[in-house]
Symmetry: C2
Subunit: 230 residues, 2 copies
DNA sequence: GTCTATAATTAGATAGAC
DNA sequence: GTCTATCTAATTATAGAC
């Protein structure tokens, strides 16, 4: 047990301190963007002093990269676990589950999309890092899957790139704008029922009807509810 | 001609200067958020010096409010014009046109959603202003229209609040993340064909099939394309 | 590993000349 | 109305004690 010592943390308290800093920095960068977040405030939330952030992470930019790496690691674990547990099933089942997990992840980690929309609005070195290091592999995997499903008739006839931005816009926006949503609608976007309803809604748009309570896939899927005109 | 003098601008050059400052500030606030945008840089882009911004607009916060007011005025004119030109037609025709105009406006004015997502992630006085002054009237109008259409079966059976966030997420994200989109997909989100394809895609998700070239509504609407399983 | 103290930079706002 | 010069405050990063 005493042999669990990383290169960075010689003292037992260091790893815990690092983690508290990372968590405070995640919320700060997500809520106030890179420039708006101050190291002093992050340090204060983490219960340490500002120079300690420069000690553990060389600079503000390096701290930001550490935050982003951990965030995408979590996303990839979430999506990857469900992908691996779904081998040998049809593409449309896989994508259905992935969309639900993506909505749930976005609800529990709105910081992901807050940071992406902060940094990907104009070219910058941080956008370089985000896109090439983390987003492109996901984009390639998702659009490849979408292209297969569109040919099979399991998705609307929409070009994969457009479908990607429809999904990555529709799924998380209610949670990214959580404080606004609460005021406008009275709904609590952290409530499990609200999250489930939103996942159902995204699946209804993309795939047609789903079981409203459990989100289970219902093959063969009936026509989109609410489309009857007779 | 010489009588066209506003209260604020005693000299003929003042109105033009004010407008150049507003345009530079719009892009700065949208691309770099409130804290990231500096008055010195905005002034430089507008071709003036920094203290002139404090002269025309009392403070950075007041400049931000002037930018936001003008932006929502443009949105309301765009949506309002199409609403007024569509009296005495069915709700589903009205909403179909509004969605297309909203996609087009979002493509040409991504700053709108960049500013909203900057400010509505955490409570602040600027979020207060945005929500109560500009967003709530739009939210109320849109969700009321959605509720009528859902009852009539012209929209998927999704609660209006959720449908609002699906639409305001799906429609503009491709343009809000324009620089990212260009890198990932190779598509130019300022290209008219790309914008039209995206408007078609949003309408396909919400309403089912549309005429892919013109975006004309096709009543009675056929089933959602790509749903056939036989 | 964590602190105090501080250097160096930059920001928004104001004073005053023209 | 627009400029130059400057004030005050806040920021990141570093130096050095413990």
């Amino acid at each position: 047990m005493g042999s669990v010592v990383s290169e960075r943390a010689q003292r037992p308290s260091a790893d815990a301190t690092r983690q508290r800093i990372l968590e405070a920095a995640l919320d700060a960068f997500a809520d106030q963007s890179f420039d708006g977040a101050s190291l002093r405030n992050i340090a204060s939330v983490a219960g340490v002093t500002q120079p300690l952030l420069n000690y553990h992470f060389r600079s503000k930019a390096d701290l930001w990269r550490a935050v982003v790496d951990e965030l995408f690691d979590r996303l990839n674990v979430t999506l990857g676990h469900h992908l691996r547990s779904l081998v040998d099933v049809e593409d449309r089942i896989v994508v259905h589950h992935m969309v639900r997990r993506f909505v749930e992840f976005s609800a529990h980690n709105p910081q992901l999309h807050r940071i992406i929309t902060s940094e990907c609005r104009a070219d910058s070195s941080r956008m370089d890092y985000l896109v090439e290091q983390h987003i492109r592999p996901l984009y390639d995997a998702v659009t490849t899957l979408f292209a297969r499903l569109a040919v099979a008739g399991d998705l609307p006839d929409i070009p994969p790139a457009h479908l990607y931005y429809l999904l990555t816009g529709a799924a998380p926006t209610m949670f990214v704008l959580g404080p606004e949503c609460r005021r406008l609608s009275g709904l609590d976007p952290t409530d499990d029922d609200v999250i489930r309803t939103h996942a159902d809604a995204v699946c209804t748009l993309l795939f047609g009807a789903t079981h409203p309570q459990t989100g289970e896939y219902l093959p063969p899927s009936p026509p989109l509810t609410g489309r009857a005109h007779d």
